[in-house]
C-alpha cells in the first residue's frame, strides 16, 4: 500500500539509472514495489513545499479570520442578510443523494 508518510527510499538508484539498468520490462516487474514508493517520495516533497506556500499566504494576509473579510461582510449586509438566512439556505446550501438507490 502507498503511504504518503514514507521516509525511507526503498531503492537507492535514481529512476534514470534504474530504467537504464533494467529497461522497461524489468521496471514493470519491479514497479509494484518500486514505482509506488518512489512516486510517493516525490509527491511528499511537493505536498510539503506547496503546503508551506499556502501557510505563507496566511501569515502575510492582512485579515486572518473569515468573519473579518470586508468584502464578505458587505455581501451579507447588501444581499444575503446573515449566514443560514432563508436566502443563504437557498443559494449556499444543498442536499445529498443516496447513490446506492439510483437506478
Amino acid at each position: 500500500m502507498a503511504h504518503y508518510d514514507y521516509v525511507e527510499k526503498a531503492v537507492t538508484v535514481s529512476r534514470r539509472e534504474f530504467l537504464g539498468m533494467v529497461g522497461v520490462a524489468g521496471a514493470i516487474l519491479w514497479t509494484g514495489a518500486y514505482a509506488a514508493t518512489d512516486l510517493v517520495q516525490d509527491r511528499n516533497k511537493y505536498i510539503k513545499m506547496r503546503a508551506q506556500g499556502i501557510y505563507k499566504d496566511d501569515v502575510k494576509a492582512k485579515v486572518r479570520q473569515s468573519h473579518h473579510n470586508p468584502g464578505l461582510q458587505d455581501m451579507y449586509k447588501q444581499f444575503a442578510g446573515q449566514p443560514l438566512s432563508p436566502l443563504a439556505e437557498e443559494l449556499f446550501h444543498t442536499r445529498y443523494i443516496d447513490r446506492t438507490k439510483l437506478g
Binding site: A2, I28, D57, H68, N69, G71, L72, E90, Y96, L102
Partner: protein, 419 residues
C-alpha cells in the same frame, strides 16, 4: 449507468489501453477500488465506482491515465466573445502550484502573476478564497447551531443535521459518502463547496452588484486543483442562481458553474493564448470585493485548513474573543489522523464545553476507523474534516504532475529509443 443523476457526467478519468503497462501502481492510490485488471494486464476504471479524484492519474508511473474533459478551447472561445463575462474562480492551492508548469519551484506563491495572467486572458476574478471564507460563515454557523442545540441544550431554530458534522467541500469525499456510506449523509454539512457557493453568488450578487451584467451572459469557470470538481459542476441541483432568477421572472436555464479547468488545463490555456506567465505583470484586483480573502480562506488548500479556519471563527462566535494563537498546530502536518480538543466558554451562558475535532486526509489509507466509529454511533468527535487527497488539495488530481522534472512520468520515453 448506475448511481448517476440525469445529465451528470458519467466518466472523467480513463486509462489509455495503449499506454497501460499493467504495473498495478494505480490501485495502491485508489480510494474506492474502482480500478480493474490483474498485474501485467491492461487496467480499466469502473466509473460507477470511481469518485473521479485523479489520484491514480497523478501517480501512474507511465502517464497512462488522463482526464477526459477538456474545455480549454471552449473557454478560449468564450473569452473572445464580447457578449460574455467570463469569471475565473481560483482555488487556494492553484496559486502555489501553477508556477511549476512554468519552471518555478513547487510552493512558489504566485497569486499576483496568476491574477495578472487571468486578466490578460480576459477573465474577471472571483477568488475562491473569498468563497472559502463564505463557506466558513455558513458551515461554521451550522456547526455552532448544532453545538448550541445538542451541547448547550438550546432549542433549535432550524432543521439541524447530526453531530459529528463532516465537512462537505471535497466533491470526491461527498461522492464517496453518497456511494459507500449513505447512512452518514445526515452528518454531512449542508453547506455547498466553496466553488459551488461562488457560482451561485457570482450569478446573483456578482452579476447585479459587482459586474452589472446579465447572469445568463456570465460564464463561471472554476480553476481547480481537482478532477472531481469536473463531476461536481455537472450535478443538476447546482443551478440555484437560475432558479433564483426564475422566481423573479426570468426563463433562462444555466448551471451555477459552467466548467472547470484544472491547474494543468489553465497552464495549457495560457500557452495557447501566448501568455508568458513568467513575464506577466502581477496584479492584485484590489478594488474587487470578490477578490478579498482572509488567511483562513487560503489555508483551505491544505489538509487541516478547513478545520483551522472554522475554529478561528467558531471560537470567536462562541467565546466572543479571538482565538489567542491563530496558527493551530494540532491540525497541521501529514499525519493520517489529526485530533484536537478545544475548550470554549460560551459568552452567553458562561457554560464551558470541550469541542473534539478530527482531520482526515487520504481516504484510501486513513478514513476507515473514523468512519466506522461514526456509523456505529460511537464517534468521540463533534466536527470532522475529510479531504480525499493525501495532503489535501495541494496534492489534488488536477495539479501539475511533473513539477521539477524528477518524476519518471514521461521521462522514461526520453531514455528509450523505440518509443
Amino acid at each position: 449507468m448506475k448511481g448517476f443523476q440525469t445529465n451528470e457526467r458519467t466518466s472523467i478519468i480513463e486509462i489509455n489501453r495503449k499506454k497501460c503497462k499493467g504495473c498495478d501502481s494505480c490501485k495502491s492510490f485508489c480510494p474506492s477500488a474502482a480500478i480493474q485488471g490483474k498485474y501485467g494486464a491492461i487496467h480499466s476504471i469502473n466509473s460507477e465506482q470511481c469518485i473521479f479524484c485523479g489520484q491514480c492519474l497523478i501517480n501512474c508511473p507511465f502517464g497512462s491515465i488522463s482526464d477526459t474533459v477538456d474545455t480549454v478551447d471552449t473557454v478560449i472561445h468564450q473569452l473572445g466573445n464580447q457578449e460574455l463575462t467570463v469569471v475565473a474562480t481560483i482555488a487556494p492551492s492553484v496559486r502555489v502550484a501553477i508556477g511549476e508548469e512554468f519552471g518555478l519551484e513547487p510552493g512558489t506563491l504566485a497569486t499576483g502573476k496568476l491574477y495578472g495572467a487571468l486578466k490578460q486572458a480576459g477573465f474577471k476574478i472571483f477568488d475562491a478564497n473569498f468563497a472559502a471564507d463564505h463557506t466558513i460563515m455558513e458551515e461554521g454557523s451550522e456547526l455552532i447551531a448544532k453545538i448550541r442545540h445538542y451541547l448547550l441544550g438550546e432549542p433549535a431554530e432550524h432543521e439541524l443535521g447530526l453531530l459529528p458534522q463532516f465537512t462537505s467541500c471535497c466533491p470526491g469525499w461527498v461522492r464517496y459518502v453518497e456511494l459507500y456510506a449513505p447512512q452518514i449523509l445526515p452528518n454531512l454539512s449542508s453547506a455547498k463547496s466553496p466553488l459551488m457557493m461562488a457560482g451561485a453568488l457570482a450569478k446573483t450578487y456578482g452579476a447585479t452588484q459587482i459586474w452589472q451584467v446579465k447572469p445568463e451572459n456570465m460564464v463561471v469557470v472554476g480553476i481547480m486543483p481537482c478532477t472531481s470538481k469536473k463531476f461536481e459542476v455537472s450535478r443538476p441541483e447546482f443551478s440555484s442562481a437560475a432558479h433564483y432568477w426564475q422566481q423573479r421572472g426570468s426563463a433562462a436555464h444555466y448551471p451555477d458553474v459552467d466548467t472547470v479547468l484544472t491547474t494543468r488545463d489553465l497552464a495549457r490555456l495560457f500557452e495557447k493564448m501566448n501568455i508568458d506567465f513568467n513575464r506577466v505583470e502581477a496584479s492584485t484586483d484590489a478594488d474587487n470585493p470578490l477578490a478579498q480573502y482572509s488567511g483562513a480562506g487560503t489555508i483551505f488548500g491544505n489538509t487541516g485548513g478547513v478545520m483551522e479556519a472554522a475554529l478561528r471563527t467558531a471560537y470567536y462566535v462562541i467565546t466572543g474573543q479571538e482565538l489567542p494563537l491563530l496558527e493551530y498546530k494540532p491540525v497541521r502536518g501529514l499525519q493520517g489522523l489529526k485530533e484536537a480538543d478545544i475548550t470554549l466558554k460560551d459568552a452567553k451562558t458562561g457554560q464551558v464545553i470541550t469541542l473534539k475535532v478530527a482531520v482526515v486526509h487520504g481516504i484510501k489509507d486513513n478514513l476507515k476507523p473514523v468512519l466506522d466509529q461514526v456509523i456505529a454511533g460511537r464517534s468521540p468527535y463533534h466536527f470532522i474534516e475529510v479531504m480525499n487527497c493525501p495532503g489535501g488539495c495541494v496534492n489534488g488530481g488536477g495539479q501539475p504532475i511533473n513539477p521539477m522534472g524528477t518524476s519518471w512520468t514521461g521521462n522514461w520515453k526520453a531514455l528509450l529509443p523505440w518509443t
